[in-house]
């Protein structure tokens, strides 16, 4: 049982079949859900996320707290662009407030397309907030750092 940082393999296939649209406003709705391992999730379930994840499931998801509700928070898409030969997309940072959360990772998924998985994110360790703010900051949107890049 673990969370491994990875672009989901099914997402790569779905890119070739035109399943996902990251355009701002007119595109799909993407969400980010938080997950725990070691029984830290709701109902003491534990998450396994990685390249083989194909869709969002609630197993191991953290419980609702503060502004975090199960299923995760909606992301604001930044319309894909390119620089040189690299295309990339980004999301605006996401915060959950007045929340008591312990999470080890997250899943970005497309809630407009049957909750199909995009990417699993490993925080590298447990991150916790107690009656506080839990903020996920995406890297700078450029050809070398953006969260999702196709080179």
């Amino acid at each position: 049982m673990a969370i491994t940082q990875a672009m989901c393999t099914s997402f790569k296939t779905e890119l070739l079949t035109g399943t996902h649209n990251f355009t701002n406003s007119s595109g799909n709705t993407f969400k980010l859900a938080l997950f725990a391992i070691g029984g830290g999730g709701k109902s003491s379930t534990t998450a396994t996320l990685g390249a083989s994840t194909t869709a969002f499931t609630t197993t191991g998801e953290v419980a609702s707290s503060g502004s975090y509700t199960t299923g995760g928070g909606a992301l604001t898409n930044v319309t894909p662009t390119s620089s040189g030969t690299t295309a990339f997309t980004d999301f605006t940072d996401l915060s959950f407030t007045t929340a008591t959360i312990t999470a080890r990772g997250a899943l970005i998924y497309n809630s407009s397309a049957s909750n199909k998985a995009v990417a699993a994110l490993d925080f590298g360790g447990d991150k916790a907030s107690t009656s506080g703010t839990f903020t996920i900051q995406f890297p700078t949107a450029n050809a070398s750092s953006a969260i999702i890049r196709i080179a």
Binding site: Q5, A6, M7, K12, L15, D93, T97, I101, A103, A106, A119, A120, L121, D122, F123, G124, K127, A128, S129, T130, S131, G132, T133, F134, T135, I136, Q137, F138, P139, T140, S145, A146, I147, I148, R149, I150, A151
Partner: protein, 96 residues
């Protein structure tokens, strides 16, 4: 045979958390700095030193104005609560 090489990558995110309230001005400053300026460890030393000095200057200014924004927002909230007749609550928030 013709083949086209491409790689698709997912990068890491930063996570900032707080206990018993929102993020501190220092944490918000760090979040902003990560977006504003990144100094590559591979940059030539004189350029890197100059960039780091510039980064520190921006950090100081940014932190000062984030603090100011917090104080001014609280001041507006205090005034609105006072106008609503909740003097004790207004004083409590003013002392935060």
């Amino acid at each position: 045979m013709v083949s086209v090489g491409a790689g698709i990558t997912v990068m890491s995110v930063n996570v900032s958390t707080s206990d018993g309230g929102g993020l501190s001005a220092d944490q918000i400053t760090d979040l902003a700095m990560d977006k504003i300026l990144n100094v590559a460890s591979t940059a030539p030393e004189p350029i890197r030193d100059q960039a780091i000095a510039f980064q520190e200057n921006i950090r100081v200014v940014l932190k000062e104005y984030i603090d100011l924004a917090g104080r001014e927002e609280r001041a507006t909230i205090v005034q609105k609560i006072r106008e609503a007749g909740q003097q004790d609550l207004a004083d409590f928030i003013r002392r935060i």
